[in-house]
């Protein structure tokens, strides 16, 4: 009994000493302050919530392990409502407050508004879910990086799938801003390369309430297949209305960010059988991903990381490793460590290309179906990193 008490006392003392030492070490070094200008409200609020949880998970995990490079990690979130102007204002506010290593904004148009200002703010930004080619293409910036798959990577995945399809006529329904337009262009190129014809292109405004006009246009076009690039609230509203019009029963449907873990959970059988590009899935069977998913379930009981959560966690892994490698939290030093570096991620070792600051990673294709009794996007095809992330983008001059 005495031994047990003594052991407990010694154990607690050890924990207390470690905590004090960690705190002292943290006090000695400048903290790593991460700013997250993201969609806490607006049409992408659920996506904002998914990335927020991933950032918080990564920060708590890092601090519990003694911090990053002996530094405490601090994080601050500000709402951008998916509006580019507000995103730029909020990012500037974060940078001025010292949270000048930023990440996890939802809309590409927001990142394209933030990107050109990073040098002036002495900040750095790591895109984790935004897909517009221009982010690492013609609008690339020395302080701007991306870890997720761009539109051209999704096109590289859709093309081999499209080649196997018998449907000759296709329609496009995509969000009317940089990402949706880029996705539409990527699909159009993939269709042309595989001898398909795009007979109807539709770009509904972000936050639309009624998609009937677009749904009817697709029905009237004679399209046999449809490519959808809508996300968040738009994806749910469009899917619900398209189902009522019988659109999914009439045309083969494939999409990106349309049938994600989040939207499938909300829509259920409405989107069963829809083909989808999958940029990340909690079901990916790598040791690092298994551990991530298991730790996530302990932090958020009954939950598993979504595609946006997983991609954002990869962004946090890259930031932490770059800070450690730089031995500094100065954005210039971290950017230097990031460009051309290799990083251990939950999807394996990945290169951050120095030519365009794009992380070279794999991509996946699948279908919405029941997996262990739960409807979710299930991977059917894996495209390796070198094929899935072609290029560096020649439009990027760093």
């Amino acid at each position: 009994m005495i031994d047990s008490k003594r052991a407990t006392f010694l154990g607690l003392s050890a924990v207390a000493v470690s905590a004090v030492l960690a705190t002292s070490a943290w006090a000695a070094k400048e903290p790593l302050k991460i700013g997250v200008p993201t969609s806490l409200t607006g049409p992408y609020s659920q996506l904002g919530d998914e990335v927020k949880r991933a950032v918080e998970f990564a920060v708590n995990e890092a601090n519990a392990a003694g911090g990053v490079d002996g530094r405490k990690v601090e994080v601050r979130f500000l709402d951008t409502e998916a509006k580019p102007d507000l995103a730029r204002q909020q990012a500037e506010k974060l940078a001025l407050e010292g949270y000048n290593i930023m990440t996890a904004t939802i809309a590409s148009s927001e990142v394209l508004a933030i990107g050109p200002m990073l040098g002036r703010w002495n900040a750095l930004y790591v895109a984790t879910v935004t897909k517009a080619n221009d982010i690492t293409g013609k609008q690339c910036q020395p302080r701007l990086f991306r870890v997720n798959r761009p539109d051209y990577s999704d096109a590289a995945v859709i093309q081999p799938w499209l080649a196997t399809r018998s449907e000759a006529k296709w329609a496009i329904v995509a969000a009317d801003y940089a990402w949706g337009r880029g996705s539409g262009e990527g699909f159009r190129n993939a269709a042309a390369a595989t001898g398909k014809t795009v007979v109807s292109e539709n770009y509904p405004p972000l936050g639309s309430n009624d998609y009937a006009a677009f749904i009817q246009k697709v029905l009237d076009s004679g399209a046999q297949g449809m490519w959808v690039a809508l996300a968040g609230r738009d994806a749910i509203t469009f899917a619900r209305q398209a189902k009522q019009f019988g659109l999914f029963d009439k045309v083969t449907t494939a999409g990106i960010s349309f049938t994600t873990d989040g939207t499938v959970k909300v829509l259920g059988d409405v989107v069963k059988g829809i083909n989808t590009i999958i940029n990340y899935s909690a079901t990916l069977d790598t040791p690092a991903n298994r551990k991530f998913v298991s730790d996530w379930a302990k932090a958020y009981p009954g939950d598993s990381p979504t595609n946006f959560g997983g991609e954002t966690y990869i962004g946090m892994q890259v930031i932490f490793q770059a800070v450690k490698k730089a031995g500094s939290v100065k954005p210039a030093d971290v950017a230097k460590a990031m460009a051309g570096g290799t990083f251990e991620t939950i999807l394996g070792t990945q290169l951050m290309r120095k030519e365009d600051h794009q992380l070279v990673g794999p991509n996946y294709f699948g279908i919405v179906e029941a997996v262990n009794g739960t409807l979710r996007p299930a991977i059917k095809m894996t495209v390796p990193a070198q094929t899935a992330t072609p290029g560096p983008d020649a439009n990027c001059k760093l």
């Binding site: 009817q216 749910i236 009522q244």
Partner: protein, 281 residues
């Protein structure tokens, strides 16, 4: 032709929401910024009630709950503030919007919710050779029922006469012995009840989220201003015109479709500053 019917559906939906705003403005002269959040609250109340009691009972519960909420709002907010500057009440409704959004976020969470149409309306009918969702025809029917119901009430009953009189001149109406406070409570209750009704019919059409009111309220204000602020007929005509042009714009000129309602409003106000059917000053 199917696209015209689609425009009619959106216009009908706008009308049911906008006419509540017209009622409240007519009696209380309150520009109710919180109307979009009443619509949102109606959608959530209906969703929660329907989960246990079915869609139709959910609709009744939502309308009743929002009507009670409106009566209380009139008694404890609009009436005490009626002697203050209009800007005070306007700011209070603006604050109420945030309070309601946060309350709903706390109760139901911030994740999106999708609601199925009731079984009886989940199919489709053939119209002009195309398959058309039955639920969308139901939305048109609801708008017609609301328009007819309000027309009969306002034009054929004594209370309706008082409401019309009070909308034009509340002071003189009160001097004639009409209890305008009780009348206002009734009218605000009906206005918020209609917000509950529009929230309910929105459920199977769009994703539910605490901020969903923000996506519709601008179009709703455009309808009210174009129609003439206090005019029920004006709101009806404006909703149908704006719904139609908005939808046809998406079909034929999608690049500029989002500004078409604003252009219509600007054109109407340029030609008739009092709106389509507003009283001449």
């Amino acid at each position: 032709m199917i696209q015209v019917i689609n425009g009619l559906v959106y216009g009908s939906f706008l009308y049911v929401l906008a006419v509540g705003l017209v009622l409240i403005f007519g009696l209380r002269r309150v520009t109710n910024f919180a109307h979009g959040s009443f619509f949102m609250l109606g959608a959530y109340v209906s969703y929660a009630a329907a989960a246990h009691l079915g869609f139709w009972t959910g609709m009744i519960v939502s309308v009743a709950a929002l009507a009670v909420f409106g009566a209380l709002l009139d008694r404890f907010v609009f009436r005490p503030l009626s002697r203050e500057e209009p800007i005070v009440t306007l700011l209070v409704t603006f604050g109420l919007l945030f309070v309601l959004e946060d309350a709903v976020r706390t109760i139901w969470g911030k994740d999106y919710i999708s609601v199925s149409a009731p079984e009886a309306l989940s199919g489709s009918v053939t119209l002009f050779g195309s398959q058309f969702p039955t639920y969308r025809l139901f939305v048109i029917a609801v708008a017609i029922a609301v328009a007819l119901g309000l027309a009969v009430w306002l034009r054929s009953t004594k209370v309706g006469l008082y409401v019309r009189a009070s909308s034009v001149d509340p002071v003189t109406t009160a001097m004639q012995g009409v209890d305008t406070d009780r009348l206002s409570a009734l009218v605000v209750a009906i206005g918020t009840g209609l917000a509950g009704l529009s929230g309910t019919i929105a459920g199977p059409l769009m994703a539910l989220s605490p901020s969903m009111g923000g996506y519709i309220i601008i179009d709703c204000f455009i309808v009210v201003v174009t129609g003439g602020l206090t005019s029920f007929t004006g709101a009806f005509v404006a909703a149908l015109v704006i719904g139609q042009f908005h939808n046809l714009g998406l079909v034929y000129v999608p690049e500029v479709a989002s500004v078409i309602p604003l252009l219509i409003m600007a054109a109407v106000l340029g030609l008739r500053p009092q709106g389509l059917a507003g009283p001449r000053k």
